[in-house]
Amino acid sequence: MNTPYTSHLRQDEFKSVYDPSEDTFLLLDALENDAKYIQNLKPLTCLEIGTGSGIVTTFLAKILDTQQTIYVATDINPMATKSLLLTVKQNFDTVPIVEPILTNLVGGLSCKFDLIVFNPPYVQSESEEIGTKLFAATSGGIKGREVMDKLFPQLDTIMSDTGVFYLVAIQVNKPKEIIEVMEGYGFIGEILLSRRCGIELLYILKFIRNKQLLQ
């Protein structure tokens, strides 16, 4: 599948929006590899946390290729919500239902999502850098885990019983430890894809609910 166009990102006003990079492309590859699964899931509600350019939500909409899904995408950066809509618009003739929300992670969402995807700020950094203007898209604090660790306990309330969650991580985040942490919250995880990129080893993790724990 073609990579969605994001040419508007070259404009100056979007310089605060994360440019699709190696981690983004690995996530797109993983979603494409998992396309059959995603299509069979027939998700009614999709959620992208920290959408940035909007390329991932757009790609998902391409994979699903139906008007049977509402795509909700959050970000803390107003320019990201603007970029998302532009990315969607330039990649579809019939624009799917895409709803941007400015919020911290999943704050304020009260419904259940069938598919959730998150390319978090995962770079090891000072905790103080988290959420700051320059580093919001990248800095993840201690072990690069602070932002995603905040999300994990909240997933239970926003993911439907049959839902799936895709997460980007790097080696320093300890992907195997992430899977263990998520087990504690009632999820089963696997490494879907990994790729070396320069000094970084990138991972895409996939989680579903542990069905035995569901009533």
Binding site: L44, T69, T103
Partner: protein, 125 residues
């Protein structure tokens, strides 16, 4: 923000946990616009059980949209007229500007350029 999205939002200020008050948020000073969306009955029929019906009806009324039935409708897949209304209300009615007020704690969430702002400061979460 389309009205379907409003049906998915609640107040998330720390301590504002009374579910009878933190949802739905009350839309005020709304500037509405009609946007066009591809009609898809199958989507509406599947989405219907997930809607908070009472919240939708009260929100719509508040915006002077009075054509939704009070009681949760049955067999909506056979009710073309209702599907038409649902499509218009949920997917084509967009809040361009305005604000959403929590009936519990009074927190105000702004809606600007059609985007709801649910951001809270670190000490409010």
């Amino acid at each position: 923000m389309r009205l379907i999205t409003h049906n998915m939002l609640k107040c998330h200020v720390r301590g504002c946990d009374d579910s009878s008050k933190n949802f739905p948020l009350e839309i005020q000073d709304a500037q509405l616009e009609q946007i066009e969306a591809e009609k898809n009955d199958a989507f509406l029929v599947r989405m219907f059980p997930r809607l908070e019906w009472n919240a939708l009806v009260s929100t719509a009324k508040n915006l002077s949209i009075n054509n939704l039935p009070e009681k949760i409708p049955e067999n909506i897949e056979e009710d073309q007229a209702l599907l038409e209304i649902l499509h218009t209300v949920l997917l084509e009615t967009n809040v361009k500007e305005g604000r959403m007020v929590c009936r519990g704690c009074g927190h105000i969430y702004a809606i600007k350029n059609s985007v709801p702002n649910m951001l809270l400061a670190e000490h409010e979460i």
